[in-house]
């Protein structure tokens, strides 16, 4: 089965004197597969997904998105991307944002009339009349997920999708991922919430400082009797062992107690 997205030796750095934010990342994602991209803050997860979505230019390596480059609008038409900390034109309302994006996706009038109310209802924003500037972070996150699924994508990228959601919202996102997987949609999930990744993802890659430390199916990465969190902490700490207990001295210093 042809992968929906394949990334080969991807590299990115933001300034010439900076270290590589992404260095040699390689993976592929097939239809119906849920892939978890894990890593500590600054490990390069968001840079990877932004390059796949055509928002950042790679400095090296290759990306194939539905057999094309991410710059190809037709390829992006099959992609749904829910960014971390999503934002929208702040004087628009939720329905207008979805109508705007439906226009960009080229949805016809019939599809718009059906999909927009349904998507708003899924996101819990169907009764919302305020403009985006008055939305909470959680409401923006729900709208971010709503616009990502509006075009019925074949690849859904979720970058920290549940960071600002309440437990009910998280459960809805999990159900959404399961349902999309079952219908053959590939899901790329960036998340800090390892328990969530463990629940929904088939394969994972653990990143630190732009490198893939370990990649494989959940069974390959997480041995019997251990949790994903144990493996994650072990791998990340091994890649950059802390010099001390990392606590501020005024907290850990016994003299002050």
């Amino acid at each position: 089965m042809a992968p929906v997205v394949s990334v080969d030796a991807l590299r990115k750095r933001y300034r010439r004197r900076d270290p590589w934010a992404v260095d040699g990342v390689t993976f592929a994602l097939e239809p119906g597969q849920a892939f978890g991209l894990l890593g500590p803050n600054g490990s390069g997860k968001t840079s990877v997904v932004k390059m796949i979505a055509g928002l950042l230019r790679p400095d090296g390596g290759d990306i194939s998105l539905f057999g094309s480059k991410p710059g190809d609008p037709a390829a992006r038409g099959q992609l749904g991307f829910a960014p971390e900390d999503p934002d929208f034109p702040k004087f628009l309302r939720a329905r207008e944002v979805l109508d705007y994006f439906a226009s960009l996706l080229g949805l016809d009038e019939g599809d718009r009339k059906r999909r927009i109310p349904e998507t708003l209802a899924f996101a819990g924003l169907d009764q919302e009349r305020r403009q985006v500037r008055q939305f909470s972070k959680g409401m923006k996150q729900r709208l971010g997920i709503a616009q990502a699924i509006l075009g019925r994508p074949k690849l859904l990228i979720l970058d920290e999708p549940t960071a600002d959601l309440d437990p009910l919202g998280r459960r809805d996102v999990r159900a959404l991922i399961e349902s999309l997987k079952a219908s053959g949609v590939a899901v790329l999930l960036n998340s800090h919430l390892l328990s969530e990744v463990e629940l929904v993802c088939d394969t994972v890659a653990i990143l630190a400082k732009g490198h893939v430390l370990k990649e494989g199916s959940m069974a390959e990465v997480v041995p019997e009797g251990r949790s994903l969190e144990d493996v994650f902490v072990e791998l990340v700490q091994a890649s950059a062992p802390p010099k001390h207990d990392n606590l501020p001295s005024f907290i850990s210093d016994k003299e002050n107690q």
């Binding site: 928002l55 609008p73 991307f81 034109p89 702040k90 004087f91 207008e96 960009l104 075009g151």
Partner: protein
């Protein structure tokens, strides 16, 4: 095309809800009304006496006084219109693209199947459309104020209003282009300084061309080059007509004054086809710069 229209449509919706543009529009509308009414009251109350000339001199021709007052009235209205057109150009230029890029809205937009060219075309189209609508409404108000006091110079006002919109479009495109590279307040300051410097260059070029600043060949060369690297403000014949009417009135009162033709020559005349062609070229260049900036932008 579909993407550009969607971007333009929702940019117009977004702009129409921005309070700053509404505030500029209301202040502009009130300002034009106040200037028009105030000037008319002032002129009808006091100006007749001030044009009576020195004792023993011929009283000036009333038709010339009326012509002068009409032109002054139109010029003041147009100045107010120009000022608010510039404020609105800054308001739109600082927000139309910058907020999408800085807020993160561009992340969701650019991940959709829309090209950066379509995004830029939609944004620039909406910004120009919004500017034309707002300044157009203020111009209609200015014409109505003019009609309220007799009218007769609607065509002059309309031509000058078109020139003001054209000048505001140039400035707005500069702000739009700069705001994709830098903070929008810094972009507005840089654009303001550039616009002022361009105005000085054009004014000095005109003075040199009319021989008022000597015939230094090096100076001629420098300002000829500078003149063709900055945007030229488009104008109607209203400023020149006003100066001419003023000087003729002055001369008819019997007082010694400057040579009318020489003085009038130093005032910028109505823009000709070359100026309009240059404006079109400048607009294309700045719109292209906006596109290049948007295309290069990583979000």
């Amino acid at each position: 095309m579909r993407g550009a229209l969607a971007v333009a449509r929702y940019t117009l919706v977004d702009l129409s809800r921005r309070r700053i543009l509404l505030v500029f529009f209301i202040i502009g509308a009130l300002g034009i009304a106040a200037i028009g009414i105030g000037l008319k009251i002032f002129s009808s109350t006091f100006v007749g006496a001030s044009f009576s000339g020195p004792p023993g001199s011929e009283p000036p021709d009333p038709a010339k006084i009326n012509r002068f007052l009409d032109l002054m009235f139109v010029t003041d209205l147009v100045s107010a219109l120009g000022l608010f057109a510039l404020l609105i150009a800054f308001g739109i230029g600082m927000t139309a693209i910058y907020h999408d890029l800085e807020s993160g809205a561009a992340v969701a937009i650019f991940s959709k199947p829309v090209t950066r060219f379509a995004f830029t075309a939609g944004k620039v189209g909406a910004a120009v459309g919004a500017l034309i609508v707002i300044v157009g409404l203020l111009s209609v108000e200015a014409v109505l104020v003019g009609l309220l006091f007799g009218g007769g110079l609607e065509q002059t006002l309309a031509v000058e209003a078109v020139a003001q919109v054209a000048n505001a479009v140039t400035l707005m495109l500069i702000v739009l282009a700069l705001s994709t590279w830098m903070n929008n307040i810094v972009a507005a300051i840089v654009a303001f300084i550039y616009n002022a410097a361009a105005g000085v260059v054009v004014a000095l070029h005109n003075q040199i061309a009319s021989g008022n600043l000597g015939d230094n060949a090096i100076l001629h060369g420098i300002f000829n080059v500078l003149y063709w690297v900055v945007p030229h403000q488009l104008t109607s014949d209203a400023p020149r007509e006003l100066v001419k009417a003023e000087l003729e009135l002055f001369a008819s009162s019997g007082q010694p004054g400057p040579d009318v033709n020489q003085a009038v020559a130093s005032v910028p005349g109505p823009s000709d086809l070359a100026d309009i062609a240059w404006w079109i070229f400048v607009v294309i260049v700045f719109a292209s710069l906006v596109y290049v900036a948007v295309r290069r932008r990583q979000v």
